[in-house]
């Protein structure tokens, strides 16, 4: 037993060492006498990554960087910085120390850099040819992913080029016999979903697992219900008069959320635990559904028992699924933007990008790269004509300062739908008074 646990890290370290060696060798090759003969080849750029070196996405990127350096002679100076990168990037730009390339989720890129007009317009990248494929980038990355993004002050929504796409939904184990019996086909409307839950309840199986302290994943129910009712959360939030909260559709959505809570459809004890306790319970088969992003399959991959088969669906009534883009961005102040742009196009070739699906277990923006089996349903959902941002891209501190606390009160059964709506409305008025 200890032997197997030893061998995995050893292998990873071995692979990392080999990568480093390759990097080192190719670096020597290019910096030496310029053997390739092309005077313009070579050079380098810096890349700050949202991944830490041990994460699978980093492994995929490392391999691509090695191939890129071999192919072009351009060295990539990588800093595996982790998720906090979006907090450091703005001040680094201000101090003129911005990297030439960095990556994060689209909302983080927009919020921390693009909204301040500091992100380079990457439209030229869309025109670049993808190495070895003879098509431009614009042809493999569906335009709908850019259409959903807010525009920066320069009017561009091409400040991020995605290489990984996530979407949220209700995840479940399709191989669970109880669930298969209760839900022969995806429920057509909210009432049908609750009927599935009632059937499960009769077998004393809770319907929804939920990390009670997390306003984001739990808030997705509200978000999807509003979407189904034709309410745009972003518009609701950006209305300084807060009149949008008086829309009966908002109250109706909140009442449906209240129904989930009061009807006892949530896993018992959900409000007394800390992440990832309930996710673990769900992966152990103690509840049927978990509302989460498509990264959840990777999160629980090591825990699920044999025979588990991932399925996912959108809450009934949803008009369009949400999408979160993880992608590259280049600061306006980057010194080697051209080399960085070249790398973006290079990484999007099928051969390299496929690793995001096969190694990292996630969906890529390219529809011709099949998602891993556990995310097949999610990729199908994303294939529709339109996508939107989670919570319709509501930005800034609105969620923590207006929605989150009141939503959790509703979610924990401490307030009614009407109280929830009234409190949000009141707090939104003060919120807008304190902005600007």
């Amino acid at each position: 037993m200890p032997r197997t646990s030893l061998s995995t890290p050893t292998r990873i370290v071995g692979a990392a060492a080999a990568t480093a060696l390759v990097l080192g060798l190719s670096a020597c090759g290019s910096s030496g006498t310029g053997a390739s003969g092309d005077a313009k080849a070579g050079g380098s750029f810096t890349y700050w990554s949202m991944w830490r070196a041990e994460e699978p996405q980093a492994q995929v990127l490392k391999a691509a960087i090695a191939d890129f350096t071999t192919a072009t002679g351009i060295k990539v100076d990588v800093n595996w910085a982790g998720r906090d990168i979006s907090k450091k990037i703005g001040p680094s730009i201000a101090a003129n120390q911005a990297p030439d390339l960095w990556d994060q989720a689209n909302d983080a890129i927009f919020g921390s850099v693009a909204s301040a007009g500091q992100a380079l317009d990457l439209s030229p990248v869309l025109g670049l040819q993808i190495p070895g494929e003879n098509v431009p980038v614009s042809q493999v990355i569906p335009g709908k992913y850019f259409d959903m993004l807010p525009k920066d002050p320069g009017g561009s929504n091409h400040y991020v080029i995605p290489y990984e796409v996530a979407t949220t939904g209700l995840y479940y184990n399709a191989a669970d016999p109880d669930l298969a019996a209760a839900m022969p086909a995806a429920p057509a409307d909210w009432a049908a979903l609750l009927k599935v839950c009632d059937t499960l309840k009769a077998k004393s199986k809770p319907c929804f697992a939920s990390e009670g302290e997390d306003p984001w994943t739990n808030g997705l129910y509200f978000d999807y219900l509003l979407n189904g009712a034709g309410v745009d959360v972003s518009k609701l939030a950006n209305d300084k008069s807060s009149a949008g909260w008086d829309d009966p559709a908002v109250l109706a959505a909140a009442q449906k959320v209240e129904q989930l809570v009061k009807g006892g459809y949530l896993i018992p004890g959900y409000d007394a635990t800390k992440y990832p306790a309930q996710e673990t319970n769900w992966a152990g088969g103690k509840a049927a559904f978990l509302m989460n992003g498509s990264w959840v399959t990777a999160e629980v991959a090591k825990q699920i028992p044999a025979g588990w088969k991932f399925g996912s669906m959108l809450p009934p009534g949803t008009k369009s699924p949400d999408a979160t883009l993880f992608g590259f961005s280049i600061p306006k102040k980057a010194k080697h933007a051209e080399a960085a742009e070249k790398f973006i196009a290079f990484f999007l070739q099928k051969k390299e990008l496929a690793g995001i699906s096969t190694t990292a277990g996630n969906i890529t923006p390219r529809e011709d790269i099949p998602a891993p089996a556990e995310l097949a349903d999610a990729q199908k959902a994303l294939a529709g004509a339109t996508v939107r941002l989670p919570f319709d891209g509501v930005a800034g501190n609105w969620s923590p300062k207006v929605l989150d606390q009141h939503f959790l009160d509703l979610w924990h059964g401490k307030s009614t739908a009407a109280q929830f709506v009234a409190k949000c409305k009141a707090d939104q008025v003060t919120y807008w008074q304190t902005q600007g």
Binding site: A53, P56, R83, D84, A95, W295, E299
Partner: protein, 281 residues
């Protein structure tokens, strides 16, 4: 009188038992963390309290290498040791001068340093971040060390001033009469006598440097620059999106705790005295 004394005795016995319960809970907590660091991730998630069967030393290897805790531990040692040494080296002469000279300027300076004790770190965090970014010292050991030296000044000067004040100046008078200059007097006569206080000051600074989180989190992000608290915070942050190995995380926690436990069992009395008697004076 008699019954009153007996009930007081009973109350005392209950209180003593309670104290021992808390002591036991403290020890159990450390034991639990140590044991959990040897268990597998899904074991921990399913049953928080359990024995490692079999013990997985591999968690530590993973933490040190893939988890980045090894590099972070080296960074922590470097930053904490260098910054505390420098802080004591800079603060000691100043404290000595302040304790020996009794003028209005001197007491004003002493007061200025002491006032720094009341400034919470969050006041400094934004200015230091912006300032260090301007001179290209963010995400660097040097920058973090400078910040820690600055943060250490009020307490170290304050504590050492009190300490030097308690050392009689008889020896210095003799040295001066022998013709020793100020530097020689300080280095050869005062410092040997003050060794205990200096070591305590170093230890306390080392402990706070080792555990400091806010500035490290804000000022560093590369895996070859971050200290242990940042490594732990970022390791925990990856639990979202890619899932986290809890055994490895607890191994990381143990790596943060181990030097504290070692230091404390070795020089516990000195640490406690340094952190308490100095206050009581």
């Amino acid at each position: 009188m008699q019954t009153q004394r007996r009930s007081a005795g009973l109350a005392r016995r209950i209180a003593t038992a309670l104290v021992w319960c808390v002591v036991a809970a403290d020890l159990l907590l450390i034991l639990w963390i140590a044991l959990t660091s040897l268990r597998g991730s899904s074991d921990i998630l399913h049953q928080a309290f359990g024995l490692p069967a079999p013990p997985r030393v591999g968690n530590y290897l993973t933490a040190l290498r893939d988890g980045g805790f090894g590099q972070a531990a080296l960074n922590s040692v470097l930053v904490a040791v260098v910054s505390s040494l420098a802080a004591v080296a800079i603060a000691a002469p100043c404290a000595y001068a302040l304790s020996r000279r009794r003028s209005r300027v001197s007491s004003m300076l002493t007061m200025t340093f002491a006032m720094g004790l009341g400034v919470p770190g969050q006041v400094l965090v934004v200015p230091l971040f912006v300032g260090l970014a301007k001179v290209n010292l963010t995400d660097s050991h040097l920058g973090l060390i400078l910040v820690y030296i600055g943060l250490a000044m009020p307490f170290t000067v304050f504590m050492l001033t009190g300490f030097f004040a308690g050392i009689p100046s008889v020896l210095e008078e003799a040295a001066v009469l022998d013709g020793a200059g100020p530097v020689r007097t300080f280095v050869q006569v005062v410092l040997p006598v003050a060794r205990g206080g200096l070591i305590t000051a170093f230890l306390l600074q080392f402990i706070s440097g080792w555990n400091e989180t806010l500035f490290a989190l804000v000022l560093t992000h590369s895996q070859d620059q971050i200290t242990l608290p940042v490594a732990l915070a970022e390791f925990v942050a990856t639990e979202q999106i890619n899932g986290m190995d809890y055994g490895t995380m607890f191994a990381g926690v143990c790596i943060i705790l181990a030097p504290m436990i070692a230091l404390f069992s070795w020089m516990g009395t000195r640490i406690i005295q340094g952190m308490t008697v100095g206050i009581g004076k």
